[in-house]
């Protein structure tokens, strides 16, 4: 163990703002990306399901895969 105490760990030898600023923002961005991805997934599946339900009676325009 290279840290004498939890406080020493948190202080990072006086560079706490820089080290934790870096790691904090990275974690924040990763969480934000995951949340955005999740919400996009939820939204688009809901939207697509609605579209398909709305178009159930009629025939959807024939779009060949490509």
């Amino acid at each position: 163990m290279i840290w004498e105490s939890w406080n020493a760990f948190l202080e990072m030898g006086g560079a706490a703002q820089f080290v934790w600023g870096s790691y904090g923002v990275t974690v924040l961005l990763i969480v934000a990306e995951l949340v955005l991805l999740r919400s996009r997934r939820v939204h688009s599946t809901r939207r697509l399901s609605r579209l398909i339900r709305a178009g159930q009676g009629r025939k959807l325009p024939e779009v060949q895969g490509s």
Binding site: V25, E33, P61
Partner: protein, 254 residues
């Protein structure tokens, strides 16, 4: 596209319908790998790697800064690779892969810039210096943003895929030119007073921490790109029958 399915295995998975379940199976695997590697990497970074003799504790930023910078450059290369394949072979999936990778690459690019600035303040005395690496990284971020903006601005899926692919390739050709020109400009203007990675003898433990974090970033990128490409595939193939089935299944799960 469907004609070559039986001939060669890879072609089979080039069809979005075939790739969708594969991506669904692989993504959690890579997510777990990313989680494990990140835990190990952070443990090495904070509890195994000793204090740096010159820089003190600040150098611990290296464990995210360098992997993020590597990742941001590498992701752009991978996007260019997929773009070239997409243009040459006319496969839809390649363009979707490039589009799925872009936001993650841009995120890593920003992380590299942010951590570089926070590292620069205590070591160079300024948040930002027009160092060749930082400047090229900034321009790379602009390339990412340009790609994402172009892709977002085009409604027609075919045009979106191909225009994005061309821009990505043009950008990839320019990345080395930008890097060398900026480096040249940099040496002319302020000499080689700033050197970031020339730590004379990087301890093995520091290097291994950096590598583990780099692999974690890899696994994370793959996992997120696979999750994202699944959403893109659903949106793109919404008229196909199998998507209806999948949506119905998802609807029940919700």
């Amino acid at each position: 596209m469907s004609t070559s399915e039986s001939r060669f295995n890879l072609y089979h998975y080039a069809a979005p319908q075939a790739f969708y379940p594969v991506a669904g199976k692989l993504a959690p695997v890579f997510a777990v790998i990313a989680l494990v590697l990140t835990t190990v990497g952070l443990w090495i970074s904070f509890f195994k790697a000793p204090t740096d003799a010159v820089q003190g504790e600040v150098y611990r930023i290296i464990f995210i800064h360098v992997p993020a910078a590597w990742m941001s450059m590498f992701v752009f290369l991978v996007m260019a690779f997929w773009s070239a394949i997409g243009l040459a072979m006319n496969t839809r999936l390649s363009a979707l892969m490039a589009q799925a990778l872009a936001p993650t690459g841009a995120m890593f690019c920003f992380v590299a810039l942010w951590t570089g600035a926070l590292w620069g303040r205590p070591t160079w005395g300024a948040y930002w210096v027009w160092d060749a690496r930082l400047t090229s990284q900034l321009l790379l971020l602009f390339l990412y943003l340009g790609y994402m903006a172009l892709v977002a601005a085009i409604d027609d899926p075919r045009r979106r895929d191909k225009a994005g692919a061309i821009l990505c390739l043009v950008g990839a050709v320019n990345v080395p030119i930008i890097y060398f020109s900026v480096k040249w400009w940099n040496t002319l203007h302020q000499g080689a007073s700033v050197s970031l990675t020339k730590a004379p003898s990087m301890a093995t433990i520091m290097l291994s921490g950096m590598l583990v974090m780099a692999f974690a970033a890899w696994a994370y990128t793959i996992a997120v790109a696979l999750y994202r490409v699944r959403v893109l595939i659903l949106e793109r193939e919404r008229h196909a029958d199998w998507v209806r089935g999948e949506l119905a299944r998802l609807g029940e799960a919700n």
